[in-house]
């Protein structure tokens, strides 16, 4: 009887909590979970280019704020020490073999990083949903979930709409369909592992599928994470590329 009472009261508590919440508050909670002012990730990216064509890349990702990031590739040998530096709307790729730097801007930022299903923007941007999107609830969520449709309220966002399934236990988007202005679903992202670090639920594994490509899939797994890191002053400067 006690168990039943507890169960009912728990369900009611969650129900009352979600019923009262507004879409903007949900976005705010998600942003609070996902946004890290500065961090260092060790990550592994498994890219399935097609049947039987799989490549795994290991990398270290440094982030600061919403649109500053630096990625250093550790493997495979072909891409070892290749770096990606994102600052604002520009991204530089550093090729260690010839110590050249290539600037990428505009639509090229939406191309797949190293041919993966994650674009350069996906990998290096962590802008807040609340700032970029207005939101509305969608009907028929499963238990412990909320379904939302996010529509861009500012120009220049990467994806005009996002159809998000929110895990209300961790307040993270467990599944996201990324939609173009024409209504076409461009990508599908599934987040299937989270870990609590310093009171925040951090996504540890995300599977991204670019639906415009055939038979591709990229699984991004974060193997370790350090938050609240203080990066050296010039760490995100272009001149620092190639120096570790």
């Amino acid at each position: 009887m006690k168990l039943l009472t507890l169960l009912i009261s728990g369900v009611l508590a969650i129900a009352s909590m979600t019923a009262a919440i507004t879409p903007q508050e949900v976005l705010d909670r998600i942003d609070q979970q996902l946004y890290l002012p500065s961090a260092k990730y060790q990550a592994s990216m498994e890219i399935v280019y097609g049947p039987g064509d799989v490549r795994v890349s290991d990398m270290v990702i440094y982030t600061q704020g919403t649109d500053t990031a630096r990625i250093i590739v550790k493997s495979p040998a072909r891409d070892k020490d290749t770096e990606f530096l994102r600052r604002g709307k520009s991204l530089w790729i550093y090729f260690p073999r010839n110590q050249r730097t290539l600037l990428i801007q505009g639509h090229r930022l939406r191309e797949g990083m190293m041919g993966s299903d994650f674009s350069y923007e996906d990998m290096t941007e962590s802008s807040t949903l609340l700032d970029d999107y207005s939101a509305e609830f969608l009907p028929d969520p499963a238990k412990g979930e909320l379904k939302m449709l996010l529509t861009a309220k500012i120009p220049d966002v990467t994806y005009y709409q996002r159809r998000v399934t929110v895990d209300t236990l961790h307040w993270i988007p467990k599944q996201v369909d990324l939609i173009s202005k024409s209504g076409k679903v461009l990508k599908e992202s599934i987040l299937d592992q989270v870990k609590k670090i310093n009171g925040q639920w951090i996504p540890m594994r995300t599977v991204m599928r670019d639906l415009l490509k055939q038979n591709t899939r990229t699984t991004m797994t974060i193997t370790s994470i350090d938050v609240g890191i203080k990066h050296p002053d010039d760490f995100f400067a272009r001149r620092s590329l190639g120096t570790k």
């Binding site: 280019y49 072909r78 891409d79 090729f95 290539l102 990428i104 797949g112 190293m114 041919g115």
Partner: protein, 413 residues
């Protein structure tokens, strides 16, 4: 019959100015015809040679689905283990050479110049290209890149635009077969000239092994070009290759002879139809001149013809007489025109027709100079057509002459 030929021959000299005018029309048409045929064969040979050299070979092997998108220079689907495939193909007696190729886009950057538009890159196995690309013939300065070297062979006009010299380093970045970005520093080993400005301005060539690294395509190529003994016999390769190599590493290979390959061949077929129309127009103009002058001739001779009819000459003999006269004029005019057309064709074949920069902005594989390709058969064809159209053009005047009523014309006398 013999006497009618004699009369026809004699008639030619009766009004020499008119005969000369008529024969000149035939001569002009035949000369144009001979020259156009030579000129068109020259263009066709030039275009075919370039298309075969740069694009199609006599036959091309690709993975399924690549040809439909080839304008985009896709890197997938590709043919794996391509060196072994080429070696195996060259064991077939019908195949003289099999060579791998990759066509791709690459952005070239130098210290000062960064090109916004991508350039067209071709990756080749230089050791197999003597019979197809013929790099030694294209070489202008420097040398051909060594296999497996970080060297690049630049179109001469592209080198000038980039302001680089032999031995300079430039870097190329491109999208790889897995859609990542990759860049390499390459040393300019030499420059080439095809004479086709769009190619010389936009194209660079690199060794296959270098492309494998740049494009992340280890051991693969997007196509294999085949050469056989005879360009016009390329069709036979398709069944032979498809029987022997129905699949390669689980890929069903697509074998396409040059005759089935897209735009240029199709365009040339359309141009050949256009050439035939031009030839027919010239022959009609010449024929109308003949009709006109022969009509004048028979009208002038109506009394004479009436007399002949009164003496019992049949209508068909009158027709024969007039047509025979026209045929003799066609024979003489055609011979003169044939000699003229042959002379002009042979002379321009020797010196070339310089187009200069006129072709610079035209995206056709035609060089800066065109060389007509004269064949003696063109002289024969031109002459025979000249005679035929002359005879044909005289039918109406001949029919008209045969209809003159003998009594009326006699009375008028």
């Amino acid at each position: 019959m013999f006497s009618l030929w004699q009369i026809a021959t004699r008639n030619i000299g009766r009004n020499r100015r008119r005969t000369l005018l008529t024969a000149s029309a035939v001569a002009f048409a035949v000369a144009i015809l001979v020259f156009i045929m030579s000129y068109f064969r020259g263009i066709t040979a030039d275009v075919f040679d370039t298309v075969v050299q740069l694009q199609t070979g006599h036959c091309r092997i690709t993975a399924p689905g690549l040809l439909e998108r080839e304008i985009l220079h896709p890197l997938t689907p590709s043919i794996p283990n391509v060196t072994m495939l080429c070696d195996s193909l060259e064991t077939l007696p019908e195949i003289v050479v099999a060579t791998p190729r990759i066509n791709f886009w690459g952005f070239i950057e130098t210290g000062d110049i960064s090109r916004v538009e991508p350039n067209s890159g071709i990756a080749v196995d230089f050791t197999r290209e003597d019979a197809i690309l013929r790099p030694k013939e294209m070489l202008i300065q420097g040398r051909i890149p060594e296999p497996d070297s970080l060297e690049i062979f630049l179109g001469e006009r592209l080198r000038q635009e980039l302001k680089v010299n032999i031995g300079d380093t430039l870097w190329i970045w491109t999208s790889t077969s897995r859609r990542g970005l990759y860049a390499l520093d390459l040393v300019v080993s030499g420059t080439f000239r095809t004479g086709i400005n769009p190619v010389d301005e936009r194209t660079f060539i690199i060794p296959m092994e270098t492309a494998w690294e740049l494009l992340d395509m280890d051991g693969s190529a997007t196509e294999v070009l085949l050469m056989t003994d005879d360009l016009w016999n390329a069709e036979i390769l398709r069944p032979i290759v498809q029987t022997r190599f129905s699949t390669w590493h689980n890929i069903t290979l697509t074998v396409t002879p040059w005759t089935d390959q897209g735009g240029i061949v199709q365009a040339l077929r359309q141009v050949s139809s256009f050439i035939i129309i031009i030839i027919v127009i010239f022959m009609i103009i010449a024929a109308s001149t003949i009709t006109n002058t022969m009509l004048m001739a028979v009208l002038e001779r109506n009394k004479e013809i009436g007399m002949m009819k009164a003496l019992g000459v049949h209508n068909r003999s009158i027709v024969f007489l007039v047509v025979a006269e026209a045929i003799i004029i066609g024979l003489l005019g055609g011979a003169a025109g044939g000699v003229l057309g042959t002379g002009v064709s042979m002379w321009t074949e020797a010196v070339g027709i310089q187009l200069g920069d006129a072709m610079a902005d035209i995206d056709m594989p035609i060089g800066e100079a065109l060389f007509p390709d004269f064949r003696w058969s063109y002289l024969a064809i031109g002459w025979i057509l000249g005679i035929f159209f002359s005879g044909l053009a005289a039918l109406y005047p001949a029919w008209k002459a045969s209809r003159f009523p003998a009594a009326v014309t006699m009375r008028a006398t």
